[in-house]
Symmetry: C2
Amino acid sequence: MKVIITGGAGFLGQQLATALLKNRQGLNFEQLILADIQCPTSPIEDSRVSCVALDLTQQGAADTLIDAQTDVIFHLAAIVSSHAESDFDLGMKVNFESTRQLLEAVKAKNSAIKFIFTSSLAVFGGQLPDVITDLCVVNPQSSYGAQKAMCELMVNDYSRKGFVDGRVMRLPTISIRPGVPNKAASSFASGIIREPLNGIESVCPVSPDLALWLSSPETVVSNFIHAVNVPAEKFGQSRIVNLPGITVTVQEMIDSLRDVAGQETVNLIRFEPDDAINRIVASWPGKFDISRALNLGFRADGSFSDAIHSFITHHGRAK
Amino acid sequence: MKVIITGGAGFLGQQLATALLKNRQGLNFEQLILADIQCPTSPIEDSRVSCVALDLTQQGAADTLIDAQTDVIFHLAAIVSSHAESDFDLGMKVNFESTRQLLEAVKAKNSAIKFIFTSSLAVFGGQLPDVITDLCVVNPQSSYGAQKAMCELMVNDYSRKGFVDGRVMRLPTISIRPGVPNKAASSFASGIIREPLNGIESVCPVSPDLALWLSSPETVVSNFIHAVNVPAEKFGQSRIVNLPGITVTVQEMIDSLRDVAGQETVNLIRFEPDDAINRIVASWPGKFDISRALNLGFRADGSFSDAIHSFITHHGRAK
């Protein structure tokens, strides 16, 4: 089996590569290609891995990546929400056009390829019911969400036509990411926990009342790998799955941080409203009906305190 | 005011041009451009009209059509549902890529342009509620529907960003179209009335129980022109409108035909199930909540019998 990860240098790409190489879920493969705009490095030294620098927005780039021997593509490459909002043209190129070219390459070379596409809860927005179901309208209020939603439709239709075997994973907001803040509007959802745990001040740009739909990176990566094994026919008339998450308000996140790390740590969070971020993040829903995802065998996180403990276990804590 | 109609040689393009030139709804303009892949002719001789042959799938074609003086574009150019299903690549080019290039040209030249985009009830499919509301998921089961749905998202996001002033009209199935059958999966919805009225046999490929969501061409054209006059802010967080229609089963259509034209005419209809057409058409919803459209000032048809009388008035009846 030959597996490709686009966005292989990114956080989720590296986590996914680690999980695959450690064979955490029994997906056996002979070759793993990590592709990104700057050449990734493998998180673990392993002869099965090769790393390539590739700009997927360039005409023909997808064709150089995919061949008839490819079995699975995890397409994680994207620019994040605030970046796509500030540079619309780049967002269309990276988030939409690259996906289209990958799908065209699959269609031309091997339509049996399983194409795991990472979408986002950012496809939702505007007037919404309290709980998002599979029958809920997609009405993105950001260019990132619009581009992801366009790709979802494409993956669905290419799959219906038999041009690819697509699986669309709509990700909750990922928390807690290790590392440093990024341009995602949701960057604070990791920052307000990660920075204080490391003794650093963190700015929260949204109200404590805001409800977020969260998943730990470990659970998301495990669900990515599970997506490969779901039989195509089980998806029915849509390849799109709202991945399981948990509903947590910013205040509840902070309360969990206090429980785990104490008030002194919580004192490092400063509230400083940012309208641009708030407008994007507040348009995302905070609660989902995940029965379909659970029926398909995807799994949910435990509590947010568990996520904090897991972060400390995996990434340590400066003191 | 300078107005462009793409698909200007098509049935709706010609009807719309006629309505505009006859000044039926008080839209004053100095210039009307009819564009199509083969050069249209104006339905009425009028010095304000110019006609151009233009393949909008060609790089740069949209740029030659649109200039800073353009005020309104009615983008009707498309290939129909069965055609987009049998030639996927052409559908992506004509139905999706052309729209994208038009939007890019508008963004570059004059973002105040009102862009009236014709979408379709074919964006709906799969598991659906009995009545479609504005909060209902889009899940197209045809490439035509998928391409239209992708364009809807684009028009919405370009509008949100202020790159265009878009208005997306989701059309019911149009009945009764004059002329000859086309490659639309819904072609029969006009054919089973039009052909018998002209003394010609017509094949109905679907069950008499099938409920259709219909609008007469006159009402759709009137709603197109109305769309220009709706203030942008009235659309709220989505530029998409499910245009008003009426719910009629195939049997009710035939009953209306009998009332208007007699049993002898009805005898010219022959049922011959066609799985390919049925699969597409049966995935479309038959009933909508149109309160939003009515609030925005769009109008609904009367009964289907009225539509038959109107067809006979406008297009006559062979005997």
